[in-house]
């Protein structure tokens, strides 16, 4: 047995306010416990409903290390089922997406299931008569996750049967999803194409932390954004020439510290938070003709202005996604091992919105987050150097102390200086909470 299983005290000791122990990034036992506890107790992103628009449409993915299927049932609701045949374990679907019609059929012995998972039929069923089969778990069909919520098109699930409600888990942080969806004049988003998929040899939490790390862009991205600004200057365009879209996207990465300090960071309970309370790198994109008019038509002038006036930068939904409301992007950090993470970067189109905005978002996605990106590389390089560097013995703590205040309380919303590392501390506060809340003895320990 390892050091951390059923040992809430040892897990709590890994986060000392302004620092965390390296084991949270490099220890494979902790990775397994994260999958067992954190990813079961938290609400985790699955997919978008537009990936399964018709009855029988399915999409396969994973929640933590658990293979799942998002499927549109015959009643029109989206269900989330574990991707495992209740007979002998065969994955029911193996392709990423498709349509299964009215039922799933296992390719091994042809057990079939309704699209809500219920067992439909077994060939040669009489072989199970008088065997007590009806009392087995297998007779229940494909197992569903503990709970599913479709929030404005985004499908989340909680693997655990019981636990925190969706509303309590996300609380005020849902305002970022609201803003992203409200930017569609129809109040709806649709997924635009497949996601970028980028394999990182580092712990998933390094990626999540980096989403609100505002002191790295001007350093790590100098080579791309700084070079872009320099090249643009050398072209010596006449004063007032509008920046091409690519420059609009990349130039703000070189903004000075002051810009990031003033943008602000907001944190919410349970590990959620966002950068760009007052402004962000997305604030100064040029207007798309006709878009504002459509928005005013849908929402009225005041509300339309309020929606488009909000320019949040990155919103972290703990544990493992980030969204960019102003450009309708979502990135999911899928943990494969302590030192392996797949990043999938999705974009969405605004239903009834201008296609130019989708084009800008697609450009952002490929320029910044592709395996071929000139920006994403420099982030990956830093994570992977850290993943290796953390093995140095005798120096076992990672510092997250910038603008730390002793006795910080994460149980309420707070807005602070945009360079604080409070959001990283907030994540670890939630990490301890959802790692330990269903461990033996945690109740007593809490007293």
């Amino acid at each position: 047995m390892g050091r951390y299983a059923q040992n809430p005290a040892a897990i709590k000791a890994l986060h000392r306010g302004y620092e965390v122990h390296r084991d949270v990034y490099i220890d494979q036992e902790l990775y397994q416990l994260e999958m067992r506890h954190l990813f079961a107790n938290a609400w985790v992103f699955v997919g978008h409903e537009s990936q399964t628009p018709e009855k029988g449409d399915y999409f396969s993915t994973q929640v933590g290390d658990q293979p799942v299927i998002q499927v549109r049932h015959s009643d029109g609701e989206v269900h989330v089922l574990f991707n495992r045949c209740p007979h002998k374990g065969t994955k029911i679907v193996i392709d990423r997406a498709g349509n299964t019609g009215k039922f799933f059929r296992c390719p091994y012995h042809a057990w079939s299931f309704k699209t809500d998972g219920c067992l439909l039929a077994i060939p040669l069923k009489k072989g199970y008569e008088n065997t007590g089969f009806e009392n087995s778990d297998s007779a229940k069909g494909m197992r569903a996750v503990g709970a599913v919520k479709n929030y404005r098109g985004f499908i989340f699930c909680r693997l655990a049967e019981t636990g925190i409600s969706f509303e309590e888990f996300f609380g005020g942080s849902l305002s970022s999803i609201d803003n992203m969806v409200d930017r569609s004049p129809a109040g709806r988003l649709e997924v635009a194409g497949p996601p970028l998929r980028y394999l990182h040899h580092c712990n998933w939490k390094m990626l999540v932390e980096n989403q609100t790390d505002t002191c790295h862009p001007m350093v790590a991205h100098e080579s791309s954004a700084g070079t872009a600004v320099k090249l643009w200057k050398e072209l010596d365009m006449p004063e007032g020439t509008p920046l091409p879209p690519a420059m609009e996207i990349i130039a703000p990465f070189t903004s000075p510290y002051e810009f990031f300090e003033k943008m602000g960071i907001r944190t919410w309970p349970n590990g959620h938070g966002h950068t760009g309370v007052h402004h962000s790198i997305h604030s100064n994109y040029s207007e798309i003709p006709g878009y504002m008019d459509k928005m005013v038509e849908s929402y009225g002038e005041e509300k339309a202005k309020a929606i488009l006036g909000e320019n949040r930068h990155n919103t972290v939904y703990f544990p493992n996604i980030m969204i960019k409301g102003p450009i309708q992007q979502l990135r999911v950090f899928i943990p494969l091992a302590a030192d392996r993470t797949i990043v999938e970067s999705y974009i969405y189109r605004l239903v009834d919105g201008p296609e130019e905005l989708t084009a800008r978002t697609a450009m952002y996605n490929r320029m910044i987050n592709a395996p071929t990106s000139i920006v994403g590389h420099d982030d990956l390089e830093m994570y992977e150097r850290a993943q290796e560097g953390l093995h140095v013995n005798g120096l076992e703590w990672v510092n997250i102390q910038r603008l730390y205040e002793p006795g910080e309380d994460f149980s309420h919303e707070a807005v602070e200086n945009g360079t604080t590392e409070r959001q990283m501390r907030n994540q670890f506060d939630a990490w301890v909470k959802f790692m330990t809340c269903d461990m033996d003895g945690v109740q007593e320990a809490a007293e």
């Binding site: 990423r96 497949p194 996601p195 791309s224 090249l231 697609a362 000139i374």
Partner: protein, 159 residues
């Protein structure tokens, strides 16, 4: 002036050699001003704009890529990546003598390496070439990756 099939084929061989040898200034000079380098994300993708691609870059972006590779503070290029192409004899798909435009398709294996890692990609490159002022130039280049839907490690150079 007319261009022979052999000249088109030699052009493709010369281009990959420039890339493998890191002669990027010469490579950039091959491009027409409004050309695009497109690497789709999806198999048989037809739209470079409203869904994501791996690359869809104009000459400004390609220059930026090359400058960045040479930059002093490009941390992810310390040490630098190296690449290597093995190409089949290009197919000449179209030759329009009057317009001076040509299309070739080339199957290739592309290897990129840095530190202890090495990636192999199977590629199909489609070149649109044009004869301008007596020289062949790249009007557009599309590179399809056989396993485009896989999760990739870094692709830092130009396949």
């Amino acid at each position: 002036m007319t261009i022979s099939k052999d000249q088109l084929i030699d052009f493709i061989y010369d281009e990959v050699r420039m890339l493998d040898e890191g002669r990027y200034d010469e490579w950039l000079a091959l491009w027409l001003k409004d050309g695009h380098y497109w690497m789709p994300l999806d198999y048989k993708q037809t739209d470079p704009f409203s869904v994501t691609s791996l690359m869809y870059e104009d000459l400004f972006m390609l220059k930026l890529r090359v400058e960045r590779l040479n930059g002093a503070r490009t941390f992810s290029q310390k040490p630098k990546s190296r690449c290597h192409h093995v190409i089949q004899r290009p197919f000449v798909d179209a030759m329009d003598e009057a317009a001076g435009t040509y299309v070739t398709t080339t199957f290739m294996h592309y290897v990129e390496t840095r530190l202890d890692e090495q990636t192999l990609l199977a590629l199909t490159a489609r070149h649109e070439l044009a004869l301008v002022d007596g020289a062949l130039r790249i009007a557009n280049k599309r590179v399809d990756i056989l396993n485009c839907d896989a999760a990739f490690r870094n692709i830092q150079l130009l396949p």
